[in-house]
Symmetry: D2
Subunit: 276 residues, 4 copies
C-alpha cells in the first residue's frame, strides 16, 4: 500500500459519518439510495432518446445520461451532435422529470452546459485537463469526474481537489476501468478503487461497468460487484436497439438486459443495506 498524503485535503473524509450527499432535482447522490444513471452512449435523435428515457425511468433509473460531444480517438469518427444533442437531452429530461448528465470536452461550451445539463461529466481523457477542472470549480454544478484510464487513485483525488479548491464541492467520482495488459476486456475495472475511495474521501462514488468491460454480458456481474463493494451508484449505457447506436454497440445493454440487471441488483443492494 502506497503511503500518500491524503489527509487535510478538501476531499478528505474526516470520519465514517462524513459522507457528502449531492442533491440534484430531487435525486440524492451519495445517500443510502443507489443512483442509477442510464441512457444511450450518444444522442442521435429525439425519438430514440425519448423512448430510452421512458423505459429506464420506469425500470428504476433516476438520472438520464447521453453524449452530445464525444471524445473519439480518430478525427474521422462521429463526434456527436454537439449543442443540438444537449438541447434534446435537456428537453427529454424535463419531459420525464429526470436530471440529465452529459460530457463536456471544452470550456467553450460551459455556459451552454450550465443552462441545460444538471450534472456535467468530465471524461477519462480530460481528468488532468487542469484548466477545464478549474473552470468547472468556479461553477456550482454537480461534476461527475471520471478516473483517467491510467491514473492512480492519488491523481484522481487530486484532480477532484482542483475542482473543489475553486469552490465547487459537488464532485462525484466515477471508476470506469483502467488500462492494463489484459486485452479480453476493453479496460480492467479496478473494483478495489471503490472501497478505497469510500474510505479516503466523503464524495459519492459511482461505477461505469459499460466502459470498464466493453462487453454487454459483463455489465450485470460488474454492476452487482460494484454495489457489493460499496458503490453509491452506476452509470450504464442502454439503448432500445444497441446495433443502431452510433457508438459502443458491443457494450450497450438492451432494455431486456437492463431489466434483468435491475431485477438482480435489488436483492444485492438490500444485502448491503442499500435501496434503489
Amino acid at each position: 500500500m502506497k503511503n500518500f498524503e491524503y489527509q487535510n485535503y478538501i476531499y478528505s473524509r474526516k470520519d465514517e459519518n462524513d459522507n457528502t450527499v449531492i442533491s440534484v432535482k430531487g435525486v440524492d447522490i451519495g445517500s443510502n439510495k443507489l443512483t442509477i444513471m442510464a441512457g444511450p452512449c450518444v444522442i442521435d435523435s429525439y425519438d430514440a432518446t425519448d423512448k430510452i428515457a421512458a423505459k429506464v425511468k420506469d425500470l428504476g433509473a433516476s438520472v438520464l445520461r447521453g453524449g452530445a460531444f464525444k471524445p473519439r480517438t480518430s478525427p474521422y469518427s462521429f463526434q456527436g451532435m454537439g449543442t443540438s444533442g444537449l438541447d434534446i437531452l435537456h428537453d427529454i429530461g424535463n419531459k420525464h422529470n429526470m436530471p440529465v448528465i452529459s460530457e463536456i470536452m471544452s470550456a467553450d461550451e460551459l455556459d451552454y452546459f450550465i443552462e441545460r445539463i444538471d450534472i456535467i461529466q468530465v471524461g477519462a481523457r480530460n481528468m488532468q485537463n487542469f484548466d477545464l477542472l478549474k473552470k468547472l470549480g468556479r461553477t456550482n454544478k454537480p461534476i461527475l469526474l471520471k478516473r483517467g484510464f491510467a491514473n492512480t487513485i492519488e491523481e484522481f483525488l487530486l484532480s477532484a481537489e482542483y475542482i473543489m479548491k475553486e469552490g465547487n464541492k459537488n464532485v462525484i467520482l466515477c471508476e470506469r476501468g483502467i488500462r492494463t495488459y489484459e486485452t479480453f476486456t476493453r479496460n480492467t475495472l479496478d473494483i478495489s478503487a471503490v472501497p478505497v475511495l469510500k474510505r479516503l474521501t466523503h464524495l459519492p462514488v459511482v461505477v461505469d461497468p459499460s466502459h470498464a468491460s466493453g462487453i454487454y454480458w459483463l455489465v450485470k456481474p460488474l454492476a452487482l460487484a460494484a454495489v457489493a463493494a460499496g458503490a453509491d451508484g452506476l452509470i450504464i449505457e442502454t439503448h432500445i436497439n444497441p446495433r443502431e447506436s452510433s457508438c459502443d454497440p458491443e457494450q450497450t445493454l438492451t432494455i431486456e438486459s437492463f431489466t434483468s440487471l435491475m431485477d438482480e441488483l435489488l436483492p444485492v443492494a438490500k444485502a448491503v443495506g442499500r435501496t434503489i
Copy 2:
C-alpha cells in the same frame, strides 16, 4: 474484446449447465454452496494453526489453507517450514475434519504433497512452469491454479489445459489480482475475470482477496464483490494475531474481521442464489 480461440479445449464450457463440481472430503467445490478456504499465510507452529483452524471452521470455512513452502522474492526471507509444515497441516486437517490446501514449489515434493495434502496449489509465479503443470496433470489430486500476476485470461486457461491434457480434470481456477501501474493496492483484483472465466470454462473459480489487495480492510468489500460477480469460493488469509505471522501481516484478517466478513457475506450470497 479479444477474440481468442477458447472453444474445443478440455476446459471449454459446453453450455450453461456444464459446471464441474470437485468433491474433496465432503466439500463440493463449484457447487451452489460457496467454498470458503481460510487459514494462515504460513504455518509456523502446530498450536497457532490448530487454534486458527478451530475458529475458521466454526465460522463457516470448509477448507484449511496454510503455506509450508513459500515463494519469497528474496532468498533471505523466511522460506517456510517445508515438509514439517505439511505434516502439521495434515494432522490439523484430520483433527478438524477439513480438507487442506498448500502451495507446491517443486515436483520434488510431489509425493509428499499427494500423501498429506488434499488440494495442491500452484502459485502465481509458477502458472507457466509447464513442467510442474504436466506432472500435476498425471496425478488425480485437485489442483488450485492461481493466475500469474501478469498473465492474460487466455494464458491462464491454457495453463489449466496443460494439467487437464495429462488426464487430471480436477482444476480450480483462482483470480488473485494482476500487476498494474496502481501502487495503492498490492495488485489490482481483476473482478471481470470471474464472470469471464465462468462463461468460458466449466471449472470452479475462486478469488483471493488477500493477495489481490494486500490490505486487511479491503478483504471484506472485495470478498463481497467476488461473490456478487459469481465466484464459487474465496481463499482468505486469517490468523489469531496477524502481527505475529511470519509473512503478510498487513493483509491478514483477525478472527474478529473474519467473523464480520462471514456475517456480511451471507446475505450477499443469498442475494445471488448461493449458500455458504
Copy 3:
C-alpha cells in the same frame, strides 16, 4: 504486432524518402542534423534562464525549452509563472537567436503563445484534449505533441491527425515514456516507439529522456539509445543549479552533465550517419 490501419492518413509515410522537415528560425527539425532542445523545467527568473540559454546554446542546443504553464498533479504545487514566463522565454530566445518551445495548457492563451513562442508543446496529459488539438490545427505554428503516458502508438498518431486534419502539418512527435508496473524509473521509455513512428509516419520524432526516466544519471544513456534508434532530436531538462529549480530537480542535468552528454552523443550521432 497489432495490425492497425495506418495507411492513408495525412501522417502516413509514403516511402522511405518521405520525411517532413520543419523549419523554425533557421533550425531544421527532422533533417539529418539532430535537434537538441534544452532548458529549465520551469522558468522562474530572467537571469537563471538567460544563463542556461547561453550555456546550452554554446554546447550545441539549438532550441530553448522552458515551462511557463505547468501541469501539476496537485493544485497546491507551483503552477508556473504563466504569461510573464512566456515573455521571459521570448526575450531570451531573441537575445540568443534560439527558437523557443513551451507547453500550452489551455486554448485561452493561444494568441499569447502564437505571438511569443516558436514551437507550442502539447503535454502528455492533453494528448487527447481533442478541442485543444483542433484549435492548434487551425494555426500554422509547429506543434510538439507529447505521447500520453498511457496511450498507444495508434492513439498517438490519431491525435497528430486531429491537428493535421485542420490544416497544420507542422507536427513533431515526442516519445516521453509510458506508465508501466516498474517503479524504479518515473516512466518506462518506449524506445521501440522511435523506429515504429519513423516507419509509419513522415513526421519528425524526438525523445524526452528526462521525463522518461526521472533520474539525472539515466538521461545520458537514454539519449544515446534514442539517437541510435533513429530519433531526430532530444528535449532535455537542464539547469545551472538543479537543486534550485522549482520542479523536477531529480531529473534535471547540470551544465557539467549536459556537457558530458553532448560529448558522448557526437560519436553516436556520427555512427548512425547524423550530425549535431
Copy 4:
C-alpha cells in the same frame, strides 16, 4: 525512483571498476568486447542449425543459441526436440568452436544440460521458479537469467541473488522486454533497465531485441539502442529461412538482415568505446 535496498547483496556493484567477466570457451562475457549470441529460435534439424552457425560465426557472433525445450503457452504447440535437440546443439558448437546456450525448463534435465550446454538459460516464465534457481546455483555453469515479463528490476536482481547465494557467481542478466498496455510490439523493451542494471550490479547485461519487439524490422534499431545504452551483448534469433522456422518467424532475422545489423552495429559499438 523507488528506493530499494540494493546494497550489500552478492550481486551489488562496489564501484565503477567492479565488473564481472564470465569466460566460457574463450568468450569473455562482460568484457569490453560485445558478446553476440545468435541462432535459431528452435533447433529443428542438424543441417539447418549447422548452416546458421557457420553463417553467424562468420559474421561476428561468438555464442550459438538454439531452443530444445520450448515454453509454449499452449500444450498443443510444438514443444521442441528435447534432449536430441541439445545433442545437435552440442555437436554443432564443437564443430564451429562456439559455446552454446539453450533454455532449461526443468531441473530433471539439469545433468544433460551440464554435460552438453555451455550457458544455461532461464526463461522469463521461470525467473521466479526459485527451486530451479537454487539448483542452478549449486552448479558452476554460466546462467543467462532472463527478466520475467512483468517483474521489476528489484525482483530480477533478487532472483540472480537466489542463484549466487548457493555459490554460483556466473550469472548473466538479460533484458527481453516487459508486458505493458502497448499492443503494437510483442513486449516493451525496457531500455532504461540496461544502465540501471549496469549501475546496481557487477554482472554482465545482455539484451534480447527479438523477443522484446516480436517484429524483425525492429531488431536492428533496438540492438543499436541497447549497445548505445551500455549493454554487454545481444541475443538474436536468426535463421536461414525464418518462414521455415517452427516458432517466432515474425521476429527472426534472415542472414541478410543479420549481416546488415552487424555492419551498422560496429560503428555504434566503437562510438561507445566497445569492440565486437
